[in-house]
Symmetry: C2
Subunit: 339 residues, 2 copies
Amino acid sequence: MSDRTLCVIGLGLIGGSLLRAADGAGWKVRGTATSAADVTAASDAGFDVTSSIEDVLRAAAHDDALVTLAVPLPAVTDVLPVVARHAPHCRLTDVVSVKQPVAAAVARHAPLARYVGGHPMAGTSASGWAAGSATLFTGAPWMVSTDDGADPMVWAQVARLALDCGAHVVPAGAEDHDAAVARVSHLPHVLAAVLASVGADGGPLAMALGAGSFTDGTRVAASRPELVRAMCEGNRDALLAAVDDALGRLGAARGSLASTGGLDATIRAGHLARQAFDAARNAGRGDAVHIDAVHIDTVHIDTVHIDLTTPNALAQLRKIAQSGGHVVALDTTHCHVAR
Amino acid sequence: MSDRTLCVIGLGLIGGSLLRAADGAGWKVRGTATSAADVTAASDAGFDVTSSIEDVLRAAAHDDALVTLAVPLPAVTDVLPVVARHAPHCRLTDVVSVKQPVAAAVARHAPLARYVGGHPMAGTSASGWAAGSATLFTGAPWMVSTDDGADPMVWAQVARLALDCGAHVVPAGAEDHDAAVARVSHLPHVLAAVLASVGADGGPLAMALGAGSFTDGTRVAASRPELVRAMCEGNRDALLAAVDDALGRLGAARGSLASTGGLDATIRAGHLARQAFDAARNAGRGDAVHIDAVHIDTVHIDTVHIDLTTPNALAQLRKIAQSGGHVVALDTTHCHVAR
């Protein structure tokens, strides 16, 4: 049974956490990394890892493991030709923070791979194997891409991996995902950088007076700059739209403060938006789904059950993601579905 | 000995925490609030509180308590005339987040009070007595105003209160303070509001995908809007300068992303700024000062000892704050200083 065999390429914060979490959930896991330190540390922790990407890919091809790219976006185009050479037909996913560029790279460099993109929305400002944790994904949203053309059975296996790691699955399309994360993941990094710089412009006294709001608002500016750049620059068009929205809103706040002295509209809109976010998060946490379906290919979203063997299943899932829904369970009681 | 007698006006998050922290440090504390719920809760917790501001002020006048205004900025001008009526000559401080407007209001409404402004840089997005804690100020910067004309002995008593509450004292001038907090406290609130709104503009999918960077970046948008408005609008000129700096930097990022596709300058500058902030915080935490002076009026800043009885003591302190220094100890071994 190869369904739960995982091959992780890259053992940094996300890849290393994935290796630990999947192992903890009973998957057979293997991994590789270019960082000798990460390979040694993972090996010392008892994991089956190697510095040879060729070796793990050949093994993955042999037992049809789910290959997961856990490298920064700029390294994806280096790794994919190796995948195409040693495991051309593999089941393939990734954990990169933008989805359209990865999908395009897969189409170009590893066109035979059965690819379904993914993106766990979890992380810290630390990086590397040592920063990882088996519980990093607990309670986190994990986007699993529902673009047309994906193999629904591979989709279900990637979703299974995410659920097994403690995440809930957001079944979005790549374009929708990239537009959304520009707003809630990439723009926060740009604003954190701007805020940190404006604070530092205030000199030593400003640094001495920085407290909770500044600490939180600049937290992600502590992340490794090259990783932040890779994800922001890799989502250029969507990020431009988000930055323009922010510039418009900040400019409006500036105008209001300068003219009337008031910030009511800005502060009130932000407060309502944050309340909406809290409500969405709490709804996500509170979902309890009774699993009563009998097919491995049945997805449960609240009370909606979707049969992955129907032609428009992925489109249905995409639509549910657009309206804020997510998958909380995949039935695995029976495996008698034929496609 | 009235030196450590405290009268707190307002028992919300900050005032309520101050009452608890000072009590824990051995001060004799009394308080009042307009919120009946806060008065009842504080009373039930065993504190000497009353809904009558007149009563506590008369008592403060009688035993020369240090009166502390812990009300939002818009309420300061309501409270000060009552102070002037019932305790006109009191030792007076406050915990309001802007200092020049409070100083101006005191000069106008309670000109005989011996006022030294203060601002503990601590808080949460919650509010009210119930949200308070005796440890809220532990490790926090607490600005104690060193403007010319202040009574150095009252300054020392306010600084003593801050130190007793576990904070370290930043001896800044009001104008310097207001310019700095516009950058590290008020701008973070404006950017959090903008970020929350831009995220919500992305619809339910964006809300579903929001994770750590969005949660942290919008945390303070959960604060009560009227409190955020009061502090931001009360620091209008300094905040305008900070917003303009942010607009300039965000516009530059936008231009770079649109033209070259790169965000190197923005991300790198933000990362360096955040590192500078971390270094400043760690330096603050790590300070260890050997207290060897013998006068109550000797302030220790790292290895600098300042005699508060010298004419330029406050100006010296202001200069030290400008360069990022803070007070970690006030000598209290002997009290034989004459002024």
